[in-house]
């Protein structure tokens, strides 16, 4: 484990700061690693070697000039390809945006660049972040570094696989129903969904605007917290951005790493006691709960009776918002245009463009959303789902009167073989059973490795009250101190 690409972001930053290594050397080592393994992993849709080396050189020059740099300056990072990056292709893994180069950076990318982070490239995902396996990418799937015949989770499978394959020490994801946390769980990495509104959505290619939340992906809890601190904060360009200070997530992660959870109350959700989950996942989860108890935490069972309706409510709300958001792909302002032969009308060209540019899952969700919003069905579907969302929020509020955080497995099953769940779309949706309630409520959630089942990683999810992101980092770091990080075998 002596290669540069095995270092965590914290270790890289220390080397950079002490002059033991330059940002350029660190960046080149990761580009070499990508060149060596990404033909097998396919975590990246686009590698920007030139841009990365230029950014690294700039960091080295600033440091040489004696400038005081942030704690992640010179650390390489991979960015999910649903985030707009100026001049660098941003496809959302869709054919409809093939070759599109945005004329601006997302706010989180601006913050990343200002912090001196070095963007290596853009990572694969399920098309428009709709999926749980990265198999719905229009550019081919990503493969799980733990077992290349299995999925890396989704939608952010590219970002998670890049971490697990040591192609990048940090990555950016987006989480609408679990797209940061579930890939983290099945790749043995750490992924955090901040409080909704805690990180800016400006420059995210919109899927479901009331749920989309960008956040950090890393191999350790401290690294995730450091990136969280860079990405988060109020943005006047996002009208749902919360105008409040960011909780001290880095301090909380460091405090948690001491391994003392005395006085912390963990809530076990009765309705998530294992129905539908693999026995091996539940066994690893229960071992982790025992480990947390040994650190001084108290475990209390709580009831959240409406959680069982979270999945149905989500699969009405998210498709409804997506059917509206994806109307912007009309073959006029950017991306693909099909069938414009001079004879066809705008509407025909639009329909042919969307038919050709969208993959099957995106089409399904647009049609489900169109159905749920149509007159005659609105009250029974979309309207009712919004009421259920209120009840789920109330379940969280009352649970957090009794406990500090809620814990559960992140996802009911370990990484499944490619192709296992594509024939029946609803089977794919079940991967997000435990992550979706957190999105509907809007609070923060993190997945942290908690053990193995059948030799594959299992993740534990910690959910905290809105704006108490620091609390989940403390518990996550404590668990990490007890269990350690998970390391896959070398890629063969």
């Amino acid at each position: 484990m002596s290669d540069v690409f095995h270092l965590t972001a914290t270790e890289i930053a220390a080397r950079d700061a002490s002059g033991d290594a330059s940002a350029t050397e660190i960046t080149q080592a990761h580009l070499d690693r990508i060149a060596a393994v990404d033909d097998r992993v396919h975590a990246f849709l686009h590698v920007d070697a030139e841009g990365a080396l230029a950014a690294a050189t700039a960091v080295d020059e600033r440091r040489a000039a004696g400038e005081e740099l942030g704690p992640l300056a010179g650390v390489p990072i991979a960015v999910k390809d649903i985030v707009a990056t100026k001049g660098v292709p941003s496809t959302a893994a869709s054919k409809i945006l093939e070759g599109w180069r945005p004329p601006y950076d997302a706010t989180i990318v601006t913050r990343m660049r200002e912090a001196g982070l070095v963007m290596l490239g853009k990572t694969n995902l399920d098309e428009f972040a709709m999926g749980s396996s990265t198999e719905y990418s229009a550019y081919g799937p990503t493969f799980n570094p733990w077992d290349l015949s299995r999925i890396p989770g989704g939608s952010g499978g590219g970002s998670a696989a890049a971490l697990a394959a040591y192609e990048a020490p940090l990555a950016v994801g987006t989480d609408t129903g679990g797209s940061i946390r579930q890939p983290a769980a099945v790749t043995g990495t750490v992924g955090a969904k901040p409080t909704y509104g805690g990180t800016s959505r400006y420059g995210l290619i919109a899927f479901s605007s009331s749920l989309d939340t960008p956040g950090p992906c890393a191999r350790t809890v401290e690294d995730a917290a450091l990136l969280h601190a860079v990405l988060a904060g109020h943005d006047p360009r996002d009208s749902t951005s919360i105008p409040q200070p960011v909780p001290d997530v880095v301090g909380a992660a460091r405090r948690g790493a001491s391994g003392d959870l005395t006085g912390v109350k963990l809530g076990l959700v009765r309705e998530f006691s294992g129905e539908g989950a693999e026995p091996g996942v539940m066994a690893a989860f229960h071992d982790a709960v025992d480990a947390l108890t040994k650190l001084g935490a108290e475990v209390v069972e709580v009831s959240c009776p409406h959680f069982e309706y979270a999945l149905p409510a989500y699969y009405l709300i998210a498709p409804s918002e997506c059917s509206s958001n994806l109307a912007r792909f009309d073959g006029v302002r950017y991306g693909l245009r099909v069938g414009d032969d001079g004879a066809k009308s705008l509407e025909e060209v639009m329909s042919l463009t969307r038919e050709s540019g969208f993959g099957p899952e995106v089409k399904r969700r647009i049609m489900i959303g169109t159905y749920a919003l149509s007159s005659g069905y609105y009250d029974a579907y979309y309207g009712q789902a919004q009421k259920v969302r209120t009840l789920i929020t109330r379940d969280f509020t009352s649970a957090f009167e009794q406990v500090d955080v809620l814990i559960s497995p992140t996802t009911p099953f370990v990484a499944f073989p490619l192709g296992a769940r594509t024939a029946d779309p609803y089977q794919m949706y079940l991967a997000d059973l435990y992550t979706i309630p957190v999105n509907l409520y809007g609070g923060p959630g993190i997945s942290v490795p908690c053990g193995l089942s059948e030799g594959l990683p299992v993740g534990l999810q910690i959910a905290a009250p809105t704006l108490a992101d620091d609390r989940m980092y403390r518990v996550a770091a404590a668990l990490e101190s007890a269990i350690g990080t998970l390391t896959p075998g070398e890629l063969s």
Partner: protein
Amino acid sequence: MAAISREEVAHLARLSRLAVTDQEIDLFAGQLDVILQAVARVGEVVAEDIPPTSHSVPLTNVLRDDVVQPCLTPEEALAGAPDAEEGRFRVPRILEEEA
């Protein structure tokens, strides 16, 4: 009983501006039926008096200061367009031609 018919799927595709094929309609009809029957479970919850939640952050009327800020140039805005002409997006025919 199926929640959605083949004809309804074809209608949804038209509303969604998707020129789907007949084979796709057959495939989607079955799949959408499974999904709609599953999500219809929200109807089991008694919620007449419950207010809907559209958003988890209770912010309203968020406005920015009315000051001029830098924005894209016309060239930047048109750079990603499939077709542009004279500084504008060029679109296919919108109106039927007069006979």
